[in-house]
């Protein structure tokens, strides 16, 4: 797996600048109509202008209607703010806008039905304020979920980090075995030892942003290297894999194997001091398998061992490890969790079908039907896991 840090949080400054321009016109329009009943716009939806500010949070929502509608959220304060539309008692969130710049207006589209609602304004530099409760008497609302806070994510992040630490011990142990086989010139033994060591590392894939640059050294490909597979900076598992499956001698492989053990040992030793950002946990649950789809199911990371499906299976294990720590948070928030679990089990069965003892069917030997079934089940999983990431994005509630 290439651990390149697929996703970064939204570039905030960029977003604010871009939206300021877009929303100038909307802002003028919104001010002119503030406080009036919901009105139909060119999109055919009711639009209501609502204030975002510590003193007047939620003001302007005087004529509630049910159905799909747009709130023009106008930040009248002098600092950026976030806003949530929530059910005041359960605090389940129906919609949110992050980083509304001072003086700007941004649309929030939601479906509202029978129930009680309030806007919560969360200024960047002050406590959250909840606006007046508004009641709607007909219809059904769109999906909502209680926000997950950073506080909620700390215990699962710590538990996960501890699990990763134990896994790193195993990786070091298995990789030392791989190096020993190479050192004694036993290339068949080295080929047999390579896979367990690599899979143990792939199981930890979830921690990739926390591993930082170490991962490029441990598990990078030759992408971006001027000399390709012969580049001196091509290192790690895939460098050793390339040599073991392309007829290189034990002598040639000694240095790459020793370098791999050293990098892993360093990572293990520094891991105890590292602190994983709890906000990363939900993203990891989703993105481990995004990497799998991108790099394993395409064969991009195959340097001769033909074990992409084994890696995919290890990545699935890694995903489930993250999910198991998030489960208490997801159980009440993710209505489709049972389906996700079922699809995850199907993915496991599908991938296990390509295991024959210690050997795995290489990707290129799959029939079209087999390949489509693997693609279908993992594509389906990443679609479902995307919701885990959005639900577990930590939100400020106070």
């Amino acid at each position: 797996m290439v651990l390149s840090g697929l996703r970064r949080r939204s570039p905030r400054l960029w977003g604010v600048l871009g939206l300021t321009l877009v929303c100038l016109a909307a802002g003028v329009l919104a001010l002119a109509h503030g406080g009036r009943p919901a009105r139909a716009a060119s999109d055919g939806l009711p639009h209501t202008t609502v204030e975002v500010s510590p003193g007047r949070c939620g003001r302007g929502w005087d004529h509630p209607v049910s159905g799909v509608q747009v709130f023009e959220m106008h930040n009248t304060s002098d600092g950026p703010a976030e806003v949530y539309l929530e059910e005041p008692r359960s605090q389940a969130v129906y919609g949110e806008l992050e980083d509304i710049g001072p003086g700007t207006t941004r649309p929030l589209t939601v479906r509202l039905g029978r129930g009680a609602y309030a806007f919560k304004c969360v200024p960047d530099d002050a406590d959250a304020v909840t606006g007046p409760t508004v009641h709607i008497t007909t219809g059904s609302s769109g999906p909502a979920a209680a926000p997950v806070t950073e506080h909620d994510l700390i215990p699962p992040a710590l538990a996960y980090q501890k699990w990763v630490g134990g896994g790193l011990d195993q990786v070091v142990r298995l990789t030392t075995r791989l190096r020993a086989a190479i050192d004694r010139g036993d290339l068949a033994g080295a080929r047999a030892a390579w896979l367990p060591a690599h899979l143990e590392y792939e199981r930890l894939g979830a921690a990739y942003d926390a591993f930082g640059d170490a991962d490029a050294e441990i598990n990078g490909t030759d992408a971006g290297l001027p000399g390709g597979v012969h580049d001196k900076d091509f290192t790690g598992f895939h460098r050793v894999e390339y040599g073991l499956w392309h007829g290189q001698s034990a002598t040639e492989l000694r240095a790459p194997a020793a370098g791999l053990v050293k990098a892993l040992t360093t990572l293990r030793d520094t891991w105890a001091q590292a602190r994983m950002d709890p906000a990363q946990l939900g993203l990891r649950a989703h993105e481990i398998l995004e990497n799998t789809v991108q790099f394993e199911l395409t064969g991009r990371t195959d340097y001769g061992s033909g074990t992409n499906l084994a890696t995919a299976r290890a990545n699935l294990d890694g995903t489930r490890q993250v999910l198991s720590r998030l489960r208490p948070l997801l159980a009440t928030r993710y209505a489709d969790l049972p389906r996700l679990d079922a699809e995850s089990a199907i993915a496991q069965d599908t991938l296990d079908g390509f295991r024959h003892g210690d050997a795995w069917t290489p990707l290129k030997r799959l029939t079209r039907t087999q390949r489509e079934s693997v693609d279908a089940v993992l594509d389906d999983l990443v679609e479902r896991l995307a919701s885990v990431a959005t639900l577990c994005d930590p939100r400020r509630t106070v």
Partner: protein, 409 residues
Amino acid sequence: MSTAERKGAVARRGFLRGAALAGAGLAAGGAAAPITATAAATPTVAPFHGPHQQSVLAAPRRVSAFTAFDVTAENRAELTDLLRTLTDRARFLATGGTPEPVGITGPPADSGILGDELPSRALAITVGVGAALFDDRFGLGKLRPRRLTPMPSFPDDDLQMDWCHGDLSLQLHADDTDTVLHALRDIARHTRGGMQVRWRLDGFSSPPRPSGTPRNLLGFKDGTANPDATDAREMNGLVWVGRGMGEPDWAVGGSYQVVRLIRMLVEFWDRVSLSEQERMFGRARESGAPLDGDAEHDTPDYADDPKGDVIPLDAHIRLANPRTTATAGQRILRRAYNYDRGMDSNGNLDMGLLFCCYQQDLARQFETVQKRLAGEPLTDYIKPFGGGYFFALPGVRDASDWYGRALLT
């Protein structure tokens, strides 16, 4: 559609991401509550609901994507889920409106490439099924449309299996590329667990140059002699499967769809003299008129030219449609597009014809014509490499109907 219905739909269709993600969306017309107040000023495609897929008859729009899928759903219940999800998406994409908001429970329901609101009736969608769907996976063998087989390899073909056949066919066409790609992306997103793309070829229809029927990439007007798609009687006689034709009941209202991916060897073609080109087609390149006429829509008089002195006996138009009473029932409804897919391995342009046609009976119509065309002079300049036979399903009649309902229930 009421929210209660939508919630029911979510539970029932849970196996596909689609329903869980976005429900059916908010359709702007049809059976759902109208959200869009005004219809677009540009000519719209036919309404989505009806006894036939009206997209079959629709004149080709400027941009098309033709995609064949293999179904990965494992049983009949999952296939049903797939077709219902496909229907929900198609209905919403064709009808337009605002995608259902999902709040913090997922990424946005829509890719946003068409803005916040989808246009109404800007997209035509045609869904078909291939013979492969009637194998032993879903227990549908006895319900196979009687004339539906895998597309055979014809004598002048050079088929590549990666570009042939499929369980399902999906044809999208619209006047803008973004509309087509938006729809393809939406449908793929909602059906990933149930089907995978087997092959896809994008096509385009050229504007009239300077008037009349659009030209193909050999420079000739293509489709001049089509039957009149606005003539219901003619369509009932040539395109739609009706009762009493020996077809299963569920298939009534559908149509056989033939897709042929035909590379044109355009460099070679451009080295051929104009008179030879015109004799191969039987038409004048500039006007599109038959070689014995003055204007594009003049009817060739083969009886007056029995030896082929004016229009050679092996000219394409003469073989394809001999204009006799006996061959009138063999006519097909051509719905062809041009395609362009870059270069081949030795630096020649890879472009040609995404041929598509509809008919009531594959053997009586397409295959009879195809056999007559075997060995025609034009075959030196074209190379059919893919495609398939499909059966365009009967139409989705209303908000509660779905593609293949009569087949699966």
